[in-house]
Symmetry: C2
Subunit: 124 residues, 2 copies
DNA sequence: CAGATGTGTCAGGAATCTTTGACAGGTGTC
DNA sequence: GACACCTGTCAAAGATTCCTGACACATCTG
């Protein structure tokens, strides 16, 4: 059996995972996809939300590495994007958090923070 | 050794934990408190944020059951609120999420949602 | 060609979260 | 009394997130 993370997650990695999972819809999406993988439109109908919205949620989940999407072309030539859950596994304890907190590149630094914003502005 | 959660967390419980941990400051707060418990004002100075802000973050963390605060009165008669991390331990895997997602009382229900809001309005 | 399906994106408003500064206590010391 | 420290709360600004209704583009079917 292949090794899943389980080691020492990055601060930013954990941060993305937490904010991704900290939403009712996204939790339900993971649940729905675990039961059976399927494509965006069908999934939107299944959980009763709009496609643009689901699209956004899926992006967030994928960015966090919790689901993966593959664009497949059916026999009828129609392209549909299938999503399925990734086999993640995190151990959630105070020590893990403390460890990860040390490597967070977000708010809190007076210098790096401003540098990030500048870089983000120039990147556009 | 006493048993920490580790069983099957409620949807709402996990939801609070995730959104609590999905923030750089709160992650750092847990880290700082794990290293050594201390009181609000001192902690605010240590991590370099305002007291009102820290106060809000601590409330969120406490509501999620990740930290606990105790109002203690020192020998000099001054009251200060000490916080420390709670010994939580969650296993973060697709199945756990799916399980929890079934018991989420938030967005997604067309009836329960409205009922909740009404109750919240009347409760004030 | 019209209509159904699928994909994605974009703009804007609504709702929430984050942050700050000011205030109102409390106690002990000079 | 004036000042230091502690506690808490509040309102209003700022920044994010969430959500919806278009829109544009593909393919197959009637």
């Amino acid at each position: 059996m292949p090794e899943v993370p389980a080691a020492a997650p990055t601060g930013d990695e954990l941060l993305k995972v937490f904010s991704a999972l900290g939403n009712p819809h996204r939790m339900r999406i993971v649940a729905a996809l675990l039961e059976s993988r399927n494509y965006v439109s069908a999934l939107a109908r299944e959980i009763g939300i709009g496609r643009p919205l689901l699209h956004m949620h899926l992006q967030r989940l994928e960015a966090a590495g919790l689901v993966v999407g593959t664009l497949e072309v059916g026999e009828d030539g129609k392209a549909m994007k299938y999503y399925e859950v990734a086999p993640f596994c995190y151990e959630l304890t105070p020590r893990v958090i403390a460890r990860a907190a040390a490597t967070v590149t977000g708010t809190g630094d007076r210098d790096a923070d401003r540098a990030d914003r500048t870089a983000k502005e120039e990147a556009k």
